[in-house]
Every structure is written in C-alpha cells, then in structure tokens.
C-alpha cells in the first residue's frame, strides 16, 4: 500500500487544475500544484461569455437532457455520451457552488442568477459575470485554493514547468520531472498519481486566441511517453476574433448572445461608412441562411460562413478578410453586460464598438482533442489523469460556447477523487520508481539544446510552424495540403536538431524553456495533421470540401494517435452512443 496520505501532483492551475486541487484537499490528500505562471494568471482567465447549466430560471422548460442533447448534437455526435450526460447533469450544482464561492454573477431584479443565450441552443442557459466570466470563475477557485494553501494542504510550484512523467518499470506514474523557470534547476517530484490540466495548444498555430502558455507541450510530452492523444484534428476556429499583430483577440459569442448581428454590405464595392449603410443594403448572411438559430449557429458553422463570404463570395469589408459584428443598435443596459469585451476592442483597435461596428474574422480558439481518457479521466498510462481542455472528452467535433468552463470544472471534479482512489490502492514502488533514469533523460535533452552549435533560430521555426498549420489545418482542409503540411513538419523537426540558442544562460532563460516546448509543439502538430489527413469526411470543425458529408459508417469513431517509431500511428475507437441515436446535424431550418 502507498503512504497513508496520497500525494497527488496537479499540473496546470486553470479551472480544471484548481477544481481537482480543491477536491483532493477536501478529501485529505496532499497536493503539489505546478504551473508555469502564477495560477491566477492562467488562460481560463480569458473565457468571456459564460458557463452553461440547465437551471431553467427563465421559464423556458430547459432541462439537463436538452443541454445533453444540444452538446452531443453540437459536437456532431463524436463525443462519448456518458461523460457528457454526467457533466450536464452536474451543471446546475456546479453553478450553485460557484455562486456560493462568491462569483459576481449577473442577477435578475429578484436577486436570482441571470442567464443569456449562447450558440447552438434555443435556451437561455448561460450564467455570466459581465463578459469576463472565465476570469471571475478562475478567481473564485484560486481563492479557495489559496485558502487550502494557507492551511497547509496545498503546495504551489508556480514558475515551474512540467517536462515529463516519471514512469516505473511497469509503466505507471510515480512522479514528474519539472524545471524551475528561474533557476533552470531540473528535478523530479514524487507522486502517487498526476493530473494533467494544461489546457489547449493554440501556440501550434502561431497566432490564436490562446495565451502564451497554451503550447500543448505537456500533452505532447506524455504522448511521446506512450499516452494516446485523441481527436487531435478537431480544432475550433472561433468565428469572431480581432486580428492582431501578436495574437487574435477573442470577441465573445456573448456579443451575439446579447443581440449582436454579423453582416457585410450587399454590394462588395460599397465604400460607405458602415453605420450609413441602410438596412436594405446590408447582408445579414447568418440570419438569412439560418433563420432559426440566426447569429447563434454553432461556431464551426458561423466560421465557415464567414470564411465563404470572404473567400468564395469576395464580400469581405473593403476586400479584406473581415466582416462586421455590429452592436451599435443595442440598448445601453445590454452593452453594459458586455463592458469587458468592448474595452478590449476599444483598447486594441482604437474604435468604440458602441458607435462603430466591429471588424472581425475567425481565429484558432479551442482544442477539442486532447489526451485520451476513460470515463474516470484516466489516460492509458496508469496514474496519469487529465482534465479540461487538455483531455479530449465532452466536446466531440465542435464545442458549444460556454460549455468549456463547465467541462473544466466537471473534469477536475472527477479527476481529483479518481486520482485519490487510484493512489490509495497503489502498491509501493520498486526501487526508485524510475526517477533517476527519467531525470537523466531530461538533463540530457537540456544539455543537447544548450550546447548545440547549430544555426536555426527557434522563433523562426515557430513562425513557420504557425503559418503552415494555419494554412492547412484550420477552417478548410485538403488532403494535398495536409500532406504538404506534414512534409513541412518533418522538415522543421529536422531543422530543430540544428537549433541554436542565442541565450545559453542558466537563469530565467525564457527562450530555452520555449525551445523545449517548440519540439513538443511540432510533434503534436503532426498528430493534428495525420488525424485530419485520414478522416475523409466533414464533421463539426473538421471540414474537407472534397468530402463534404459526415460519414458515420467509416468515421463515427474517435481518432487515437500513438507515438510509434517517432511518428503518429493512428487507430480508431468506437464512440459511446448509448443514449442518443446519431441524426443529421441541420441548423438551417426548424
């Protein structure tokens, strides 16, 4: 038997990680929490619009089963249904808990929680705190974890980066190797189980709505250690982002939830100022093409429509890849609920979106795929669990807006207790459990990088990676393009061997840490490209014009990538459809 008090390592301090930490601390476990940034600065902070739960406080007859069905249907039936059913069932209790933690959710006049409508549903099911809901939720969990920390139940390792899992002779997790991003010390930490909550992989696409830390490096490292990576090809491109020099800034779906409208001038040569263009000369293409859901069609559909308007119909504003997202008609009290995002637009673009329609374009946003997990959030490596955006469950081929915050908390709430249960029946490790060997392997990697006499600049390799992936593996995919992308990735891996660090120092060396992540990004990019190449159908966010239809017979299956002989080996697994029979996904009419 293991020690009386299980010792769990949680990697990543966003919503999923903090949720897991809270459950473990409450159950009497010891937690070591690792995060690259202070956990309060994690990427969950960027979520804007809200969190879904079928509380039915608007008298619409919403139920958890409808939330369940919307999620499965929105995900084009690719998600395993049992965990989604469990998540939607727990939704209302999770909202209540967040409310009790002090999240300043918007209120109705009676003092109850207010709800707004989001994409892919006809119900007002989204609880929100202005337009900064992720920030507010992250802070609430951060505060609870700080409380547990002050009581000695949690030890934070902020400014430490996960490098790999320590696996024993039977292949079970016995700890992790991590690197202190200040002293650059690399060492191992023992644990009975580890939970990976390291978010998405936007950095693989260069520019995305993700934060700087969202590289997918930890997931990739585990994939290279034998974990399956599932549904990698399913990447959500958010329909409304602000194009930027350094990143694409999200313009929340709540803008449309509160009544924002997407349009372009009917005449592509119309040079008039947006607000002076009369209604009759505006093409509200989402509303005309999808009368029932209007501007709130699921994200994959809105994104493709905007892409088509720009690149097939040549109707982008002033010939540029941009369409209007218009809030100027909204009453003040509605705009007030969107202050957080209006400020972002104002600060970064310089125009006031209350007066001038915003100019937006789709941007890489969310990683539906991730580490393969069973229904208890455990990967195929014993003792390695995963939760949140880092795992593949819940969202299938397309995530519905405001389901991510829920899935993060749900995943953490399952993974925490499951890791505890696993740890309490874990036999004692033999020898050192593999610690010395794994530490040696990681130190050798560090040494190779620091002493490499090559000529390649890692940031240039990253730029090429991002351009390749954005071009071939986002909104529209062709097999020829995907093959070209994979050839490029192989070339980048080759050039990586020749990488030269301009900074070889051993103190707070951020480019060294980045260059380690970069390798993992390229390996994970290959998983995305291979999965997309083999999936000859269109489903949710994965769209191939040469295979425009969903093909349930061949591809109602989870893609599983294994790292074999230095390359992704893809296999397919049946999807759990035990509750809802797959049906065609049609949002055009009632």
């Amino acid at each position: 038997m293991a020690a009386a008090t299980p010792r769990i390592i949680v990697v990543g301090g966003g919503l999923a990680g903090l949720a897991a930490v809270i459950k473990i601390a409450e159950a009497g476990g010891k937690v070591d929490l690792f995060s690259i940034v202070p956990v309060k600065r994690s990427h969950s902070v960027c979520a804007q619009g809200g969190i879904n739960a079928a509380k039915d406080l608007k008298g619409e007859g919403d139920t958890v089963l409808k939330h369940f069905d919307d999620t499965i249907y929105g995900g084009d039936f690719l998600a395993n249904q049992t965990p989604v059913k469990n998540m939607t069932a727990q939704g209302p209790a999770i909202i209540d808990l967040l409310d009790r933690m002090g999240v300043p959710f918007n209120r109705t006049p009676e003092g109850l929680l207010d709800f707004r409508r989001f994409g892919g549903t006809l119900y007002q099911r989204t609880a929100f705190a202005g337009a900064t809901t992720g920030q507010q939720l992250l802070y609430a969990l951060d505060e609870q974890v700080r409380r547990h920390e002050s009581e000695g139940k949690v030890t934070k390792y902020e400014g430490w980066e996960f490098l790999s899992a320590v696996l024993d002779s039977k292949g079970a997790a016995r700890g992790i190797v991590a690197m202190d991003l200040r002293t650059m010390e690399t060492r191992t930490f023992p644990a009975d189980a580890i939970i990976i909550c390291t978010g998405g992989n936007g950095a693989i696409f260069g520019k995305s709505t993700n934060s700087v830390v969202c590289t997918g490096s930890a997931q990739s490292a585990l994939y290279q250690q034998g974990a399956f990576y599932a549904n990698g090809e399913f990447i959500q491109v958010h329909p409304t982002a602000i194009p930027g020099e350094d990143k694409l800034r999200l313009m929340s779906e709540s803008a449309r939830g509160e009544g924002g409208r997407v349009w372009v001038p009917r005449d592509r040569n119309d040079k008039r100022v947006a607000r002076s263009i009369p209604e009759a000369d505006r093409y509200y293409f989402l509303e005309e093409r999808y009368p029932k859901y209007g501007n709130l069609v699921p994200r994959d559909i809105a994104t493709r429509e905007i892409f088509k308007i720009v690149y097939e119909d040549n109707m982008g504003i002033d010939g540029q890849p941009m369409v209007y997202l218009d809030l100027t008609h909204l009453p003040k009290e509605r705009l007030h609920k969107l202050e957080g995002i209006l400020e972002i637009y104002e600060k970064f673009v310089g125009d006031d979106p209350r007066e001038v329609p915003m100019k937006i374009f789709p941007g890489m946003h969310y990683t539906m795929g991730g580490l393969w997990v069973d229904f208890n959030q455990q990967t195929n490596i014993p003792g390695v669990f995963a939760a949140g955006e880092a795992d593949y469950s819940i969202h299938g081929a397309n995530r519905l807006g405001a389901n991510s915050l829920l899935s993060c908390i749900y995943g953490g709430f399952v993974a925490g207790p499951q890791a505890m249960a696993y740890a309490s029946s874990l036999p004692a490790q033999e020898g050192d459990g593999g610690h010395a060997a794994e530490l040696q392997r990681q130190k050798e990697k560090n040494g190779l990088l620091l002493n490499n006499p090559g000529t390649e600049n890692p940031f240039k390799i990253w730029r090429e990676l991002g351009e390749t992936m954005t071009k071939h593996a986002t909104i529209v995919r062709y097999n020829a393009g995907l093959e070209e992308a994979d050839a490029k990735l192989v070339e980048l891996l080759d050039r990586y061997r020749n990488v030269n660090l301009s900074d070889k120092s051993q103190w707070a060396n951020t480019s060294f840490a980045f260059t380690r992540q970069l390798y993992n990004m390229i390996e994970l990019a290959r998983v995305i490209v291979h999965g997309a190449r083999l999936r000859d159908e269109s489903r949710g966010a994965h769209y191939k014009p040469d295979f425009p239809n969903r093909d349930d017979e061949k591809f109602l299956k989870t893609t599983k990538a294994a790292f074999v002989d230095g390359a992704p080996a893809i296999s397919f697994e049946e999807v759990d459809i035990s509750h809802i029979k797959p049906r065609p996904r049609v949002y055009t009419s009632s």
């Binding site: 809270i22 994690s42 808990l97 009790r100 006049p109 350094d246």
Partner: protein, 249 residues
C-alpha cells in the same frame, strides 16, 4: 505615422544581483504593433542597434489582452500593461524598464508574489463549507453585484502598488489591490463572516492607515477599479472595528 523602424531602449539585468545596463534596438515597424509584439521581434532577431548579438528579453506575459495581469512594466516611465501599450501611441525612443518597487528577476520580469501573500493575510476568499452540492447560494440584489463586480475585476498586476508613494520597505503598506479585495469579500453575503478578521488584518503598521490619499492608484489602474472608494470605505470599517475591539476588551 509612416515610419520604417521603431527605436526602443530597454533596461536589462541578467540576474537579481547583476548591474543593470541599457540596450538600444531598432525594430522594423508594422502597423498595429504593441510592446509585446515588439519584444517578440527582438526574440526573432536578437541584435542591438549597433549590430551586436544579444539575447531575447525576459519578461512576463500570458494572455496578451490585459486580463491575466502578467506584463506590467515601466513604458516611457509609466507603469502599464505591455500588451495594451500600442506603439503608434508612444513617443520614441520607447523606454522599457522593470517595475521599480519589486525585486527584479531578470530584465523586465519582477517578483510580485508579495501581493498573493497579502491576499492570504486578509483571507480573500469565501469560507464555504465544502464543494459538494449544498443548493443555491444566497440571493443578491443586482445593485450589490454591480458594486462587487468591478472590484472582482482586479488582475493583480500590482500597478497600484508600483505607483503608490507609500508602498515601500519603510511602511510595509499592503497596497490598494488587497484593500479592494477586502471590501469585495466583506460585501459577499457569506464572505462577510470573516469581516472582522479581515479588518483587523488591515489595522496597524503596514495596514490601511499608511495610505496617504495620493490617488495615484485609481488613476493608474488599467481596469479602472474604484480603489480610492474602497480604501475610504475600508478605512472607516477598520476604524469602527478598532473602536469596537477597544471597548470589548
């Protein structure tokens, strides 16, 4: 503003104990650049204006949309977030330096963990019974939410502390951010159970009394928190608590 290059001068320091130096760069101009994209350009081609090879600049950043609170630094002498500082709106040469009131880690990165320690001192949390399902939370009038939400927008950037004349080693002042969080949790129906403990933590040396009402904090806060209002409300509550405690002895 048509121009081909951007002139930048960056105060650099390789370790906490090393002397600081200033490096000058000229970066190719592109429209819409901010300070973080400018630092990214230096990483891509770490060569100073004289053609001498140097290293990428170390700085904290994450979300790049002014919500994570990471990238606070001195830009043209002013404490602000690097991601929302647009090059087109800055006078050149642009000077970048680390925040001056916190220990430098390297270059523009500083150690701001003191804020998180302060949040522990005032117990900035709601002491819930547990994370299991206990039903809905207390009802709350929208007017209360309207007061709490702006305080909860604090991104822990520490700019309010940087610009405060009283935030220094002599006073040990906790700073405006922590005081605002005290108000936030004292206003919460369940959080208010710790109200007295929080107020006592703000009394005495380094507490709220150190504030000199310079109002720098409220002017510099990138998220427009009502900091001076929070300080004056908490100042009053701390005083009342001290009087109560005096008579309760």
């Amino acid at each position: 503003m048509a121009q081909s290059t951007i002139k930048v001068e960056i105060k650099r320091q390789s370790t906490p104990d090393a002397p600081s130096t200033t490096e000058k760069f000229e970066i190719p101009y592109r429209p819409g650049m901010n300070i973080t994209s400018l630092l990214g350009e230096i990483a891509l081609n770490p060569v100073d204006v004289s053609g001498k090879a140097t290293t990428p600049v170390t700085y904290d950043s994450n979300c790049l949309e002014e919500i994570c609170g990471s990238c606070a630094m001195l830009i043209n002498g002013k404490a602000r977030m690097a991601c929302s500082a647009l090059v087109d709106k800055l006078e050149q040469p642009i000077t970048l330096a680390p925040l001056s009131k916190f220990p430098v880690v390297r270059d523009l990165a500083v150690d701001r963990s003191v804020l998180f320690e302060n949040l522990k001192k005032v117990k900035a949390w709601v002491p819930i019974d547990g994370s299991y399902d206990l039903g809905s939370g207390p009802r709350q009038a929208p007017q209360i939410q309207e007061q709490r939400y702006p305080l909860s927008n604090c991104i822990s950037c520490t700019i309010c502390m940087e610009v405060c004349p009283q935030f220094n080693d002599v006073t040990g002042f906790v700073g405006a951010a922590t005081i605002a969080q005290t108000k936030l949790f004292n206003m919460d129906p369940s959080g208010s159970v710790l109200k007295e403990e929080r107020l006592r933590a703000l009394a005495g040396d380094g507490g709220i009394q150190e504030c000199s009402f310079s109002q720098n904090c409220v002017q510099a806060c990138p998220k427009q928190l009502p900091l001076t209002e929070a300080i004056s409300d908490m100042g009053r509550d701390v005083f009342i608590q001290q009087v109560k405690d005096l008579f309760a002895r």
